[in-house]
């Protein structure tokens, strides 16, 4: 074969590939039993939930996209003109109450909604929150020992000079976990004292990291002594075998609820509603208790590994009573001030 021959062949092959894919991968019309779900649940927990869902609703096909809270927010706003998904599942309430997001939701009262206490629901029925997560420190035992550091038990302990350069924290501008941490500090101490505290803490912070789970992960890897993160990440990393201790700050743990809602634009509302109904079923709640530190629906008990990792059974006793409306309403202003003063 001549050189041109093989070149022409390549061109034809390329064209064939182009045509096939253009036809074959065109978005097919939504099947009756197929929905797309956007979620910010951690990858492993979402996979477990979906596996349980598939046992109960074997005919329902769920395409799931998992992105972190901030990513998903950006994506949904970018796609707002023509949303691709039918359901938002397990996503921070603070972001859900963004008026631009609320406008995309359709009120729906799923079966079993009465199991969710009223304070965890939108009065207009656009979302309800059945799970949540709370702030916790991941402290690396090996690093503490090597550098001769005391075990911190509170946010205040992190101000000690010996922790200089040993603490990492999420950047609240990009991370939902980061925002709930500084929002909880501002709510507990009041804004003036809260900002003073954050400024003082800033001296010891080695890095502000752009994700909520990474601070725990880098502390687990021993890169830094303390990573301010969330409880489930600490528990899972302890399970993995990392030499870390989960510390719930003595002042109280900031927390966030994960909400679910039906998209007004859904092209397959019947299937979407079946899915949402399932998220409040017995089987679903059972799974939540295996994976989440906060479950708003009663009917389960906390797994052994959570308690072994240091989570109190009465979780309400260590949590800050968060004002989510305040967190949402002041998000832009607080982030702007944080960026002006503390962002590096």
């Amino acid at each position: 074969m001549t050189m041109l021959g093989s070149f022409a062949l390549r061109c034809m092959l390329a064209c064939a590939v182009v045509c096939c894919t253009a036809l074959g991968f065109s978005p097919s019309q939504a099947h009756a039993n197929e929905i797309t779900v956007y979620t910010s649940y951690e990858e492993d927990e979402a996979a477990a939930f979906l596996a349980a869902m598939q046992r109960d609703l074997p005919d329902l096909r769920v395409n799931m996209l998992r992105l972190s809270t901030g990513d998903l927010h950006a994506r949904m706003l970018a796609e707002a003109a023509n949303p691709r998904h039918d359901v938002i599942w397990g996503w921070a309430v603070t972001n859900m109450v963004d008026p631009r997001v609320l406008a995309m939701l359709e009120p729906y009262e799923p079966q079993g909604i009465e199991r969710v206490p009223a304070r965890f629901r939108d009065p207009e029925g656009r979302w309800f929150a059945k799970t949540g997560y709370m702030a916790a420190f991941c402290v690396n035992n090996e690093v503490l020992q090597r550098r001769n550091l005391p075990m911190p038990t509170s946010w205040a302990d992190l101000l000690k000079p010996e922790f200089q350069g040993e603490v990492v924290m999420p950047n609240p501008a990009s991370s939902g976990t980061g925002y709930l941490q500084i929002a909880s500090i501002l709510q507990m101490k009041g804004e003036d004292a809260g900002w003073d505290f954050l400024r003082e803490l800033d001296r010891n912070i080695a890095q502000y990291i752009k994700s909520g789970s990474r601070p725990c992960n880098v502390a687990s890897a021993g890169e830094f002594a303390v990573g301010a993160s969330f409880a489930l990440r600490a528990i899972k990393n302890i399970d993995e075998g990392y030499p870390i201790t989960m510390v719930i700050p003595a002042e109280g743990a900031g927390n966030e609820l994960e909400a679910t809602g039906l998209m007004r634009s859904s092209r397959n509302k019947e299937a979407a509603k079946r899915f949402i109904d399932w998220t409040l079923s017995e089987a679903a709640v059972e799974e939540y208790y295996k994976w989440k530190e906060i479950v708003t629906v009663s009917g389960g008990t906390m797994p052994e590994s959570f308690i072994k990792a240091g989570l109190p059974e009465d979780i309400g006793s260590v949590m800050v009573d968060m004002d989510f409306d305040w967190s949402a309403a002041n998000r832009d202003r607080i982030l702007r001030q944080w960026q002006d003063e503390l962002e590096r």
Binding site: A8, R84, A173
Partner: protein, 558 residues
């Protein structure tokens, strides 16, 4: 394949040819307009959108801050230093491969290209495993230094862009006219003098091109700064922050637009140099024969071995970590990280392979034709077409990806049916990497003397016949390299696709990012190893196919 292409047999009226050429040039410009300029214009428009209508408020808000000036300074500091280091190191390495009698050339060349086989994240990840505060070096030696920040970004960026510069230099140094070197030797010039007066000037274009490519790749990369940058913020990470973190498209687009500024300067400069460059292979050329020189060869072997050691150790430690039970605490061998428990398991890898094949097919045609048309046609559309071809190099991937969402995710748009398909991701990759593919092709095309075309044309051949008889035989190896280039980039790219993936079009590199983000560092490493394995396998297959068609002497990647 006789008659498979409707070739004109000299009967075409010659005066129609200029018109035909303009039409072809225009046809090549159309996809560039649709898939590069249109999304960018959309982004540009968004950057002027404020709550009070159109205005400059977004620009004023971003540029008025001290932090922004610091980011600009940081970005340029890192980028300029990285570019200088990379260009010098890669030139020396390419020289060693093409112009010395160093042993194991093919092995060295392959090792130098390894960074192309894995997502850029892996360079930074390997660096942290090795030089992090709890990395191998600190743990072993009991030292306590930190890689995070300026030097972390520079080192990982050099490793990340090294192959790009090497590919360009290697392609340029591969072609030379032996008569010049013979003359230089006979006239009594020493090796250094020959280098300064013959070699260096003949690779001017490659120097400019690689500086340009490296500069724009580094200034727009966010993967490495995110992993090892610590608090050393740069413009690219700021775009990520503004758009992903705060859903602030307007401010993100402003910084994206600011990142476009260097390209204008680079384009003008490159154009100026281009006018002064001349072909170094002409009809009387003789291929270069490199004579052994024990001292020179030994020095360059040691130099190349050092560079390869650096590249191998960073990638090797990631591969090693993927096979340990729990790095760095339990180092025993384990395959548990290869049980991928992400959504869809290993499916993202198949998606990436599909995208890579499509991008290779589309990319080689798009970039190859564009290079041919801008180099050989000399139509009025040359300058705008050239600009379109290299503009993507200065577009941060995520800005292009965001532009695709903003522009194409509207039911009225003709491109809308492609939205949410693997094919659109492939297109996005082709046009995101268009400038590099185009420059590789045109660097090589530039070195083919115009006298070939003129001779061919004087003898009455149409340009299609010239292309078939003259250009393609000379270009063939480079085009294969371009195809492989597009495939590899598509397998490992992160930034452009992060906005385009959907539940059914998850890609492997993004899986690595998610695994890394989730803290499954070993699993992320394992996924990267799978990506590298696929790329290497494809390279081997391509090699075998080339050999089968009798191109055994041609190096696949140039």
């Amino acid at each position: 394949m006789n008659g498979s292409a409707p070739l004109p047999r000299g009967r075409r009226p010659r005066d129609l040819e200029p018109l035909f050429k303009v039409l072809v040039a225009a046809a090549i410009a159309v996809p560039l307009l649709v898939f590069v300029l249109y999304p960018l214009v959309h982004i540009l428009g968004r950057s002027f959108q404020t709550p009070d209508g159109l205005g400059l408020a977004n620009y004023a808000a971003v540029m008025g801050t001290q932090r922004f000036m610091r980011l600009v300074y940081n970005s340029f500091e890192v980028t300029v230093v990285t570019t200088v280091i990379t260009v010098v190191l890669a030139y020396g390495f390419a020289y060693a491969v093409q112009r010395t009698c160093m042993p194991l050339k093919n092995l060295f060349r392959l090792i130098a290209l390894i960074p192309l086989f894995a997502p850029s994240l892996v360079q930074a990840q390997g660096l942290v495993l090795m030089l992090g505060r709890n990395g191998l070096v600190n743990r072993t030696l009991g030292t306590d230094f930190s890689i995070y920040g300026y030097w972390g970004i520079v080192i990982s960026s050099v490793l990340y862009v090294f192959p790009y510069a090497f590919l360009i230099f290697s392609a340029s140094l591969a072609l030379a006219d032996n008569r010049l070197y013979e003359s230089s030797r006979i006239l009594g010039a020493g090796p250094l003098r020959t280098f300064w007066t013959v070699t260096l000037p003949s690779t001017r274009f490659a120097l400019i091109a690689s500086t340009f490519v490296v500069f724009t790749l580094v200034i727009t990369d966010f993967g490495n700064p995110m992993v090892v940058g610590g608090d050393y913020s740069v413009l690219a990470t700021e775009v990520y922050n503004q758009v992903i973190g705060q859903a602030n498209f307007e401010l993100g687009t402003v910084i994206g637009m600011v990142l476009l500024a260097p390209v204008a300067v680079a384009v003008a400069f490159e154009k100026w140099i281009n006018r002064r460059s001349h072909a170094q292979i002409s009809e009387g050329s003789q291929p270069l024969s490199v004579r052994p020189n024990p001292l020179r060869d030994r020095v360059f072997t040691a130099y190349s071995a050092l560079i390869c050691l650096a590249i191998l150790s960073v990638v090797g430690i990631v591969i090693f970590a993927s096979f340990t039970h729990l790095w760095p605490y339990r180092m025993e061998f384990s395959l548990r990280h290869y049980r991928f428990d992400v959504q869809g398991g290993i499916q993202p890898l198949w998606n990436s392979i599909t995208i890579g094949l499509m991008a290779a097919g589309v990319g080689v045609v798009a970039a190859g034709l564009a290079a041919y048309v801008t180099e050989k046609f000399r139509t009025v559309l040359d300058s705008p077409l050239y600009f379109l071809c290299i503009v993507p190099a200065a577009v941060p991937g995520m800005v292009l990806g965001l532009g695709y969402i903003l522009a194409f995710n509207a039911p009225g748009n003709p491109i809308y049916p492609l939205y949410g398909t693997l094919f659109l991701i492939a297109i996005c990759n082709v046009y995101y990497y268009h400038a590099q593919g185009f420059l590789i092709a045109s660097t090589s095309m530039k070195q083919i003397s115009h006298t070939f075309d003129e001779a061919s044309s004087t003898l009455g051949a149409t340009f299609l016949r010239t292309m078939r008889k003259v250009t393609l035989p000379l270009m063939w190896p480079t085009l294969v390299g371009v195809a492989v280039f597009f495939f590899m980039r598509s397998m490992v790219t992160l930034s452009a696709v992060i906005f385009l993936i959907t539940p059914s079009t998850q890609v492997a590199a993004v899986s690595v990012l998610f695994l890394e983000d989730r803290g499954a560092v070993n699993q992320a490493a394992a996924f990267s190893v799978c990506i590298m394995a696929v790329v290497v396998a494809v390279l081997i297959v391509a090699r075998l196919v080339l050999n089968f068609f009798g191109h055994r002497h041609i190096s696949l990647i140039r």
